[in-house]
């Protein structure tokens, strides 16, 4: 289970304080899939980073009692001057997974071929996203934090991602920021709507989507 209690996050820019999240509370039980809905700048990515422990909340607490992935999105988590293989080796070591198995899975899923022995700074954004996504599936977490990434890649990659994530890992928890209504409706059981740093949980997804579209 993940529980966020009164989470507030401030950023300091040019001497001014900007409150990105204000008293956000929610829980995600084992196996539950929570959608994050909000327009750009509403604080979705910030919230995902706080849950993933990448940044610390200014106020409030976040508790995790299951293994939580790093925020899987379009950026972060790898070292640009190292090759894909070296990054894989590092992450496999950190999470104590056998490198050979991780490598097989990533090779098959990300379809990066020879690029795996190139430094990752030479990858395109889409390739990086595919690589890190494949890697997170290979590590196998109880809860996945997903920031728009399933919108990356081509049609084929998208459909494989959905299959791996929502069908093969139907028993896992997920916190999913997505603009795609259809994904939210078919896979999520509740939604957290974010607006100007405030958040509210809805069990009725149609209502949540209506509110989000109206905002």
């Amino acid at each position: 289970m993940i529980s966020a209690i009164d989470v507030t996050k401030d950023y300091h820019t040019e001497g001014r304080v900007r409150r990105v999240l204000s008293n956000v509370s929610f829980t995600v039980a084992k196996g539950e899939k929570l959608a994050l809905l909000g327009h750009n700048g509403a604080g979705k990515s910030t919230l995902i980073r706080l849950i993933g422990g990448v940044e610390l909340p200014t106020l409030g607490t976040i508790k995790q009692t299951m293994s939580v992935s790093w925020p899987i999105g379009l950026a972060g988590g790898f070292h640009g001057s190292l090759t894909g293989n070296d990054n894989m080796r590092f992450i496999a070591r950190v999470y104590n997974k056998p490198f050979a198995k991780v490598k097989d899975y990533v090779e098959d899923f990300a379809e990066l071929g020879k690029f795996l022995s190139e430094p990752m700074r030479t990858y395109s954004t889409g390739m990086r996203a595919r690589f890190m996504f494949a890697l997170s599936l290979a590590i196998d977490f109880d809860c996945y934090l997903i920031d728009e990434v399933i919108a990356a890649g081509d049609q084929r990659f998208q459909s494989r991602s959905r299959e791996e994530l929502f069908e093969k890992r139907a028993d896992r928890s997920m916190i999913l920021a997505s603009h795609i209504n259809e994904i939210v409706k078919s896979y999520c059981s509740r939604a957290l709507v974010l607006h100007r740093g405030r958040a509210k949980v809805f069990a009725d997804l149609d209502l949540a989507l209506d509110i989000y579209n109206y905002l």
Partner: protein, 260 residues
């Protein structure tokens, strides 16, 4: 297994992974980077030896020059390299903090271990080379030498903790580090034994933990042939306080890290 031990096992694994990653990204797989770390003190010390021998009395204050230089320069290198490598280390490793298990302190430990390891390798290799050509002897009081070197490592780590954490808050730390690491050479004890100083200055100099460490290293190398003034109890106390301060700053530094 208790949560504490599980945490320790994870931390150990993360530090190991970071160490290997650090070696790859710094030295590459085929470059001579690691060999250079070992060779550098030799490249410095050999020309200096000849120049000093040409212009100065090789037995200054009754001490032979080469052991004096050797036992002065290697600790200095450790301090300068560790400090230099730790500047902005958090910023340059931000992508790793995406992984919850990787803590800032783990990255610090991995970097410090690599720097200490390569310095100790350089210490041993340079000793063997200079011993083989008859320039240095086995330190007369080995335990004292080890103790002094241990304090020098501790001092370098404590300073690295402090500047590594502070340089995330202000650019001043970087500006100051370069002149400081040069000036350090002058007042650290690289060029002198505290016994050569007037008593008033000596008493001030001995408040510096690194001067204490140099005294012990020199006492180790030259044994009873020199008079050294060192106080391990004071040094331990001073370094423990600096280390606690550094660890506290390092913990606070998480708040100052902005992740893209």
């Amino acid at each position: 297994m208790s949560a504490f031990w599980r945490g320790l096992v994870i931390q150990w694994r993360v530090v190991g992974a970071l160490l290997i990653r650090e070696i790859y990204s710094r030295f590459g797989r085929e470059s001579l980077g690691f060999a250079w770390i070992v060779a550098e003190p030799l490249v410095f010390a050999i020309p200096v030896l000849f120049v000093w021998r040409a212009v100065r009395n090789p037995n200054e204050h009754g001490l032979s020059l080469m052991p004096f230089l050797w036992s002065g320069y290697l600790p200095l290198l450790l301090f300068r390299h560790l400090g230099g490598r730790i500047l902005l280390f958090i910023r340059s490793n931000v992508p790793l903090l995406y992984h919850q298990r990787v803590k800032i302190l783990d990255i610090f430990i991995a970097r410090a271990l690599l720097e200490i390891g390569s310095n100790l390798t350089a210490l041993i290799v340079s000793f063997v080379v200079f011993y083989a050509i008859g320039a240095v002897d086995v330190p007369r009081d080995l335990p004292m030498f080890y103790l002094g070197y241990f304090y020098m490592i501790w001092w370098s780590v404590a300073v690295a903790l402090i500047i590594g954490a502070l340089c995330e808050r202000t650019d001043w730390v970087q500006q100051i580090w370069l002149p400081y690491s040069y000036l350090f050479m002058m007042f650290s004890g690289f060029f002198f034994l505290s016994d050569w100083l007037p008593p008033i200055i000596r008493n001030i100099a001995l408040y510096q933990p690194y001067t204490q460490a140099y005294e012990m290293i020199r006492g180790g190398v030259f044994g009873a042939t020199v008079t050294t003034h060192s106080d391990p109890a004071y040094t331990t106390f001073a370094l423990a306080i600096l280390t606690l301060f550094g660890l506290w700053l390092m913990r606070e530094s998480r708040k100052y890290v902005v992740i893209e």
